[in-house]
Each structure stands twice: as structure tokens, then as C-alpha cells.
Symmetry: C2
Subunit: 119 residues, 2 copies
């Protein structure tokens, strides 16, 4: 059992939209991501997905709505719901979702990141 | 889909060792807890449990070790592992664990809190 420090882990990478696993809880993973710019519209057909903002601010666009998240705020995107994360400047977030979830959901493309990359 | 602000939710209660649910992710829950003093030694036989410190500092004692957690740090206690959370002054934390987990695990007693209390 060891502690995990978010700032120390965030110092280990600089790429955007590329989730890094920092911990597992049963078959779920905690992943840190740095986001900047517009991500791709996508959904995850089999799972909800939690976004927790650690530093900075971001938006999650939905088809008829948008949620703004700042530091110390979170949002759970329900399974099957189309969404587009975006941020005008770098934002540092943590995702919580089952092991194996692909970042771009069913919208695979150039923003699809390698999965299960630990730091 | 709505955002959840940790500080706003933390302002809604003041009791210690009594987890309040703020969000669900599939069959998992995010719970805020204010802790102070020594909790009871216990374990959860069927699940891991994540501790994330939002404000303050705390310790988790294990049988042969202890982990100190400050703001922006987390620890996953593996299933079946005996542990005792404690803090000399109030610490505000978030737990992530499956819906239905009882705070005192197999050590039911006066610190056992009501389950599935939402704020």
C-alpha cells in the first residue's frame, strides 16, 4: 500500500489527451490526463466515466448542454452519452473508469491513445 | 449531467466518519467524509477502497506500516487488508468504492454509519 501524489505523477508527462494510469481499484482505474484544445466527440457504450479536475478548468460539451468544471469539481458522464471534452488552456484532470476503456470510445482516430499506460 | 463541487458538498455536513454519497459511476460511488480522531481497525473482504485527500492530512495504519496522505494524494487499500484511518485534526477526504460498502467493514459497532446517504 503506497501513497500516490498527483503533482508528482503529473510531472512525469507532458502530452495531451493521453491518459496515464496511476492506480487500480478492483477492475477500475484512476488515470491522469492533461487536456488542451478540443477533443473528439465520442461516447462509451458500456460504461459511465468520471472527470475530476485537479488543476485548471475545462468544458464538457453535450449535444444540448455543456458543463464547466474547475479545480475541485467533478462530473460523471453516463454511458452512451455523446460528449466532447475541451479546454482553451492546459487542464489537469483525473478520470475514473473500468480498466480497458479507450479514450475516444467508438470514435477511433488520431486522438486514440495507447491504453493501460502506467506512470 | 451536472457538475459536483467538493467544497459546496462539504459545506452540507459536519459529522465525522459518516460518508455522504455525491456521485455514482456504474455500480461504484464517490463519497465525501470528514475524519478526525482514530477510526476502528477493519477490513473490507470483497473490495478495494480508494482514499483521496481533498483538504488536510491523515494517516492510514496497516498492521506493519502506515501511510501519510496530504492534500492531492491518494491510496488504494486492497481488499481484505486490515487498516485504521486516523487524523489528529479534521481532514476532508473522498472515498471511491462499490455501492453498498459499509464504512466499518466487518467491524460493526458505534462508528458504523448509515449507508447510501446522499447529499
Amino acid at each position: 500500500m503506497k501513497k500516490i501524489n498527483f503533482k508528482e505523477k503529473l510531472s512525469k508527462f507532458s502530452d495531451h489527451w493521453s491518459p496515464k494510469v496511476i492506480a487500480e481499484l478492483n477492475d477500475y482505474q484512476f488515470k491522469l490526463v492533461k487536456v488542451e484544445g478540443d477533443f473528439v466527440w465520442h461516447s462509451h457504450e458500456d460504461t459511465d466515466e468520471a472527470f475530476i479536475v485537479i488543476e485548471g478548468e475545462m468544458w464538457i460539451d453535450f449535444e444540448n448542454d455543456a458543463v464547466h468544471l474547475g479545480e475541485g469539481e467533478m462530473c460523471v458522464v453516463q454511458k452512451g452519452v455523446k460528449h466532447r471534452p475541451r479546454s482553451s488552456s492546459e487542464c489537469k484532470i483525473m478520470l475514473v473508469e473500468p480498466r480497458g476503456v479507450i479514450n475516444t470510445g467508438e470514435s477511433e482516430g488520431e486522438l486514440t491513445a495507447s491504453n493501460d499506460v502506467w506512470i
